[in-house]
Symmetry: C2
Subunit: 340 residues, 2 copies
DNA sequence: GTGAAAGCGCTAACAA
DNA sequence: TTGTTAGCGCTTTCAC
């Protein structure tokens, strides 16, 4: 059923039917109702392609996520969806697989499909590749970044302060020899955390010991392996993991080595993943506002899309703070932030 | 840059350019190469809408997931993506929110956007609403179902056998008074599990005790609350949870009540969620082939899409089996299926 | 092997 | 207020 048939059945021209859909105020009430009734009866939906061909707008955005199975990324995705859905947009969610090639392919698809905007979570692409989007006039927002890219609109969490805060907290619990399981991805966040870690230590007059900084894969397995390696070199009083998954792996390795947490070694993570208060002992970590990162990122994108004169839109970087979540694993004597 | 400009620059007609893209064998090699070069230079991509308007095919499928933050659903989604991406399709992933209204809205969006096919994971809609898709000539595949809907193509896991197997295993471990934390969603899977649970008990000559069957919300919190309720009524020897999340909540409630798992109460779940071997004690559960469910569902959909004469396509139901994963929480003396 | 032109379904400028 | 028509970018039929 197309517009012509509707027009015929309603005894009007296609233009009038089109007007009912796009500028109903320019159609006499009587005619309008008649046409609406026919549309209703026929269950008419305007052809998506024909509309797109005219408007050159898809009401679609693309979202590239590093890994679709990681709940934290999906939390961001949820934030994005909450915002854009309310504005009538629908989202392509694509799996970047932490892999430039896959991400690039996905990006191509999105460009070709003429999405109205793109959000990339922890992009693994270099700036010049991302710049390609601008050439195609597609607004872009980054959430997190692989390296500082001040030329792009972006939302990030302040990982440096988070790390510094956590290290200071661990120091406050009486731990001096604090190891760091650092994420090995080349993302800015990891570097930032390292800086914060060093800063925290220096604030107590401690010189960071390179032996206690282990680069690990960003996964439970990575944390497990890294901890095994760490323990083979030295025995810290506390382990700070670059995220909760790594911490879970560390916990398992410690248990396996017969080391009690937090009595013998304290442990802290980053992210406040859903399971962090289900493991034993419950994990001290930093609560990261993932959902909000998605919300702000999406709002930023909507803003750009709705700005007519792109030239006057100032590139913005939004930095959010995480929040210390003290639980049992760090050996603190109080228990704050338990289940739920 | 559109086809006309490419044609002009290459000194040919638009028809020839179009042919290079769609039927290159009908273009002289010389002309073909010349045109390809121009396309390359200009980074030309045919307009998505114009193509769609002609082909009436979007190379897009819609996937509706009950909850985007649930890793198991995303595991299915990953399976789907793995298949369709390889075929050049791209996926809209939408959040049904376990809510018929949201799901319906999303479905409308997908219909309007003329996706080539739709997969719904645990749809909350009634059959007649789903039948609407057929009216729009959009192929549909269900993964899991809220009630038996033999009229649709579908992939499911055999929950009845899973439950029966698990109950028999628990009985084999010496537990007789086995409680069941049953999911309260109105999905077929829950009923099936209940049937399997009863069957397992009866196989040992035990009459199911209604006091030991508690309907709980499908979540960690639900398991926690349900277990509290259960313990206030009676004290079972084992608790069988309808999924791992519920089991995690149960575990927390048991610990909080000072009840040791598995020494005093055994525990088992369903799903083999990622954290099930990270909790203490590691959880005995059923490994469900989520990824494969997605893969088979997607293949089924691709099959339908590629079948010219829809009339001759037989509706199929694919049932997959889960696999018992014995760990420590059920009090079994061996430990099988540990980490990784 | 190639080009001219009709047509996919819709929007909007222009005319009436 | 409504209708006529060009045009969005592409594919494909029909001529040549």
């Amino acid at each position: 059923m197309n517009i012509k048939q509707i027009a015929k059945k309603a005894g009007v021209s296609v233009a009038t039917v089109s007007r009912v859909m796009n500028h109903p105020e320019n159609v006499a009430e009587h005619t309008r109702e008649k046409i609406r009734k026919v549309m209703e009866e026929e269950g008419y939906k305007p052809n998506w392609f024909a509309q797109g061909l005219n408007f050159n707008k898809t009401m679609t955005i693309g979202l590239i996520v590093p890994h679709i199975l990681n709940q934290m990324y999906m939390e961001i995705a949820k934030g994005v969806e909450d915002v854009v859905l309310a504005k009538g947009y629908i989202t392509f969610i694509g799996n970047g697989e932490m892999n430039p090639k896959t991400e690039r392919e996905y990006l191509d698809q999105l460009i070709q499909r003429k999405v109205d905007g793109i959000i990339i979570i922890f992009s693994s692409l270099e700036s010049d590749e991302l710049a390609r989007l601008e050439k195609n006039d597609i607004p872009l927002v980054l959430i997190g970044a692989n390296r500082d890219a001040p030329e792009f609109n972006m939302v990030k969490v302040d990982a440096k302060i988070a790390a510094e805060t956590m290290v200071k907290h661990l120091l406050g619990c009486g731990h001096k020899r604090i190891a760091f399981l650092m994420g090995s991805d080349p993302r800015e966040e990891n570097e930032d955390m390292y800086d914060g870690y060093c800063r925290g230590l220096r604030s107590a007059g401690i010189r960071p010991d390179e032996d206690m900084v282990i680069k690990v894969d960003n996964s439970i397995e990575g944390g497990y392996q890294g901890t095994k390696k760490l323990l083979s070199i030295t025995r810290p009083e506390a382990i700070y993991a670059a995220n909760d998954n790594i911490a879970f792996g560390a916990l398992d390795a410690l248990k396996e080595s017969g080391i009690s947490v937090p009595d013998e070694v304290a442990l802290a993570g980053f992210g406040n993943y859903r399971m962090s208060n289900m493991v034993e002992p419950k994990l001290t970590t930093s609560e990261v506002p993932y959902h909000k990162m998605g919300v702000y990122g999406a709002r930023l994108l909507m803003d750009i899309i709705e700005t007519q004169d792109k030239e006057e839109f100032d590139t913005r970087m939004i930095t959010l703070q995480s929040k210390l979540k003290v639980r049992k694993s760090c050996g603190h004597n109080e228990r704050i932030g338990e289940m739920f």
